[in-house]
């Protein structure tokens, strides 16, 4: 118990902060912070597996998140029949062509010795294939995008419950990670960072501009929900009774019946959105706990020991007969798959998919700040990092505003410096993140909750 004291203390402080937000701002805000903290925690667990366990730098987190989000769209949206009949055949044909090209390249790679001619043949196959695919898919894509472009204009999805997409998102992200890993894992650490960063940008470019698949920058809105809708909740008897019970003290103070009724309605509206958020929190919490148990088990298993051995001394581990390349690939896929789950969860919570909102600062670098601040190699640390950093990211603006008001108290309200500073309050979050990261890296390089490995 005693050795876990700092973990418990850190988490209680964090929960206390969120509860304070609930009391002073509103429970709605507190819960939305909490939900995003949970999603961030899943992302940091993914990144922590790669960086903390194996020392792999993955700056492509944004790409895997977006793929998870794409899974949510492709699973939950109802199929657009018209679009399928308009261009579905061309798309399916192109898909087979892609598979054919991959098989052809594999065949050439296996069959012939490494030579210049082989490279030319492969290049010819790929370029020729791309041209054929363009010719085949173009009419299909145009037909699909013409089907009611204001509302659909894409193929739609499978029409399944959105919760399945969390698993599918993991598979999507894992699949991409497998390809990237095959290609890029041999690179040196900083090259790998740059390569993954750029590959994730390519993924985003594709998601943004292939309208037939994702609607691109037109966004997909109104996704299905695993939780009830606020509007429906507000009409259900037991829910209204529940809200009445909760607020009976406040309601009793109001004597006028009509006034009491309007107050009750207000409480019901507020309560419904809190209730929905609580549903999400419950779902996310389940995911976080399952992942935490699995990752903890993995960390203390022989496999976890091997990963740390590879991380700390690759050559020695290799000499001991461990297959470093294979293990790196495995952990890269696993970590990315977890990030994919988080991506799907994020879209599920928002109920909309906006490819334009995926930016490296928010979805790659911020997650890295979380991992480093929290404590790489320690799952509890990574989760805590997700909580702390996301909390600060959201609350930086109010804190910044307070600080600005404090430091410029001597100035008049219309003074240009004060006005300018108050306008730029939203950017204080960057400053806070940067300074926080620099301080942690300098004075506590292992994070708030450092990695602690006991031999059992």
């Amino acid at each position: 118990m005693r050795k876990n004291l700092n973990v418990i203390a850190a988490y209680s402080i964090m929960m206390g902060l969120i509860i304070l937000v609930g009391i002073f701002q509103s429970w709605n805000i507190a819960l939305s912070i909490f939900n995003l903290c949970l999603i961030s925690a899943v992302m940091t667990m993914g990144a922590n597996i790669q960086w903390g366990y194996a020392g792999l730098i993955n700056f492509g987190i944004m790409g895997f998140t977006a793929l998870g989000g794409l899974a949510a769209v492709l699973i939950s949206v109802n199929p657009v029949q018209e679009a399928w009949s308009a261009g579905g055949i061309n798309i399916l044909l192109s898909l087979f062509l892609i598979i054919g090209i991959v098989l052809a390249v594999r065949f050439v790679l296996k069959r012939y010795q490494k030579s210049k001619i082989r490279n030319y043949i492969i290049a010819a196959i790929i370029i020729g294939g791309i041209i054929i695919i363009r010719l085949v898919s173009e009419p299909g894509i145009e037909a699909i995008e013409e089907v009611n472009p204001a509302r659909t204009g894409f193929l739609g999805g499978l029409g399944l419950p959105i919760i399945f997409s969390w698993i599918v998102g993991a598979f999507f992200a894992g699949g991409l990670a497998f390809v990237i890993g095959k290609v890029a894992l041999g690179l040196r650490a900083d090259y790998l960072a740059i390569a993954t960063l750029l590959i994730s940008e390519i993924v985003i470019a594709i998601i943004k501009h292939e309208d037939w698949l994702t609607r691109g920058v037109k966004n997909v809105i109104g996704l299905k929900r695993p939780a009830p809708y606020e509007v429906n909740l507000q009409e259900i008897e037991w829910f209204i009774n529940l809200v009445e019970k909760f607020n009976s003290g406040k309601l009793a103070l109001i004597s006028d019946i009509t006034e009491r009724q309007t107050a009750l309605n207000q409480f019901v509206i507020e309560g419904s959105s809190v209730f929905v958020k609580l549903c999400y929190s419950g779902l996310f919490l389940v995911v976080v706990i399952i992942l935490l148990i699995l990752t903890q088990k993995a960390l203390y298993s022989p496999w976890g020991r091997m990963m740390r051995a590879i991380r700390d001394n690759e050559e020695a581990a290799n000499a001991m007969g461990k297959n470093v390349v294979k293990q790196h690939l495995l952990i890269f896929v696993l970590g990315s798959a977890i990030v994919g789950i988080a991506g799907a969860m994020l879209v599920t919570q928002d109920g909309l998919f906006t490819p334009g909102s995926y930016r490296p600062l928010r979805y790659t670098f911020l997650i890295w700040v979380m991992v480093i601040v929290g404590g790489s190699g320690n799952n509890f640390g990574a989760i805590l990092g997700g909580f702390v950093v996301w909390f600060l990211w959201i609350e930086a603006a109010p804190i910044g505003l307070y600080l600005v008001n404090l430091t410029t108290a001597g100035l008049e309200d219309t003074h240009f410096l004060k006005v300018h500073l108050i306008e730029s309050v939203p950017y204080f979050r960057f400053l806070m993140m940067g300074i926080g990261l620099l301080l942690i890296m300098r004075y506590r390089p292992k994070g708030i909750l450092p990695e602690k490995i006991e031999i059992k």
Partner: protein, 336 residues
């Protein structure tokens, strides 16, 4: 005549813009490569350092404009560059003293320095946004075009016009001057040679009496010059927006690695490789073929290899291919 028209078309839409864009990338790539070669880390704050330098230049430009100082047909920003470089150098030295120095002295692994540079990236981004705001800013003044499309058409009697913006010419001229001075400095002067020696083998360089403090300081100074000039040129040609500058870091990295990271000449060429392939692959060649081919063979489509949306993706794909087949870059890296 048609052939001439086709040539002008390519010059106007591909060659001139790519040359200007490539020069801007090349300066940034040399900046990345210098930091990588001598200070030995991938600097993720590249784009934001460039935007900081540009911001200072813009502030000085505004000041000069307000007191009525101008360079006639040239943009006032050129006058502001030296002052901006001074501020930028100061900023970089401060960052180095408070942030990077500690890790350098501790001989931390490059990965850790790269992480630290992400912290610097956040801070710089915040500073830029707090001082000048996140919005789009144009600070170009003076003569906009050297040759206008209409004038060119009248002059030559061709169907296609050739428009050359003065910013494009300024970019190319400044790049030539800057890069040739830099190569002269690195190859001919004693300090430059000691920098190359330090980059090649740190221990040997220290043994032969090279002062590492001096090398590091000069590197940051050169970096400040490159970052400011590169940023200002880009801002003059397009416009200044902190977010775009942050994004520009990606093609700049691509250019540096394609050219062989740690090799300034490679980075210089890498900039053009990236710029030309981006524009060549996303240009719609329909009009070009209309001039070149006989009327009966006129193409129906746009003849565009990739849609312009994939402009960035092109450069990244090139990078991935280069990393796969020649991880050290087209020109061998790690030699300054």
């Amino acid at each position: 005549m048609d052939a001439l028209n086709a040539l002008i078309l390519l010059l106007n839409y591909i060659f001139v813009p790519a040359l200007a864009y490539g020069s801007q990338l090349a300066i940034g790539a040399i900046f990345v490569t210098l930091i990588y070669g001598i200070l030995r880390f991938a600097n993720f704050a590249t784009g934001d350092m460039m935007s900081f330098g540009t911001m200072v230049a813009i502030l000085f430009t505004w000041y000069f404009q307000s007191i009525g100082l101008s360079l006639g047909f040239l943009p006032t920003a050129l006058l502001a560059i030296p002052f901006a470089i001074l501020f930028m150098g100061l900023y970089m030295l401060i960052i180095d003293k408070f942030v990077f120095k500690y890790y350098r002295l501790n001989k931390s692994p490059p990965v850790q320095l790269a992480m630290v540079s992400i912290g610097v990236m956040f801070v710089t981004q915040a500073v830029v946004r707090i001082i000048i705001g996140p919005s789009d800013r144009r600070f170009f003044d003076g003569e906009k075009f050297l040759i206008r499309a209409n004038e060119f058409k009248e002059m030559t009697g061709l169907n296609e016009g050739l428009a050359i913006k003065s910013t494009q010419v300024i970019t190319i001229v400044v790049t030539i001057i800057l890069v040739s001075t830099l190569f002269w400095f690195l190859n001919k002067t004693k300090t430059g040679k000691s920098m190359r020696a330090y980059s090649d083998n740190e221990d040997l360089a220290l043994l032969s009496g090279i002062d590492p403090k001096k090398i590091v300081m000069i590197t940051w100074m050169i970096a400040a010059i490159l970052a400011t000039i590169g940023g200002v040129l880009y801002g003059l040609d397009k416009s200044f927006k902190p977010f775009t500058y942050f994004n520009n870091m990606l093609p700049i990295f691509a250019a540096a690695i394609v050219g062989g990271i740690g090799n300034p000449f490679g980075a210089f060429l890498g900039g053009y490789v990236i710029a030309f392939s981006e524009i060549l692959l996303t240009y719609a060649y329909k009009k070009f073929f209309m001039y070149v081919l006989p009327q009966s063979m006129e193409p129906d489509g746009l003849i565009q290899l990739l849609s312009t949306d994939y402009k960035f993706a092109v450069s990244f794909s090139i990078l991935v291919i280069v990393l796969l087949y020649r991880p050290s870059g087209i020109f061998k890296g790690k030699i300054l």
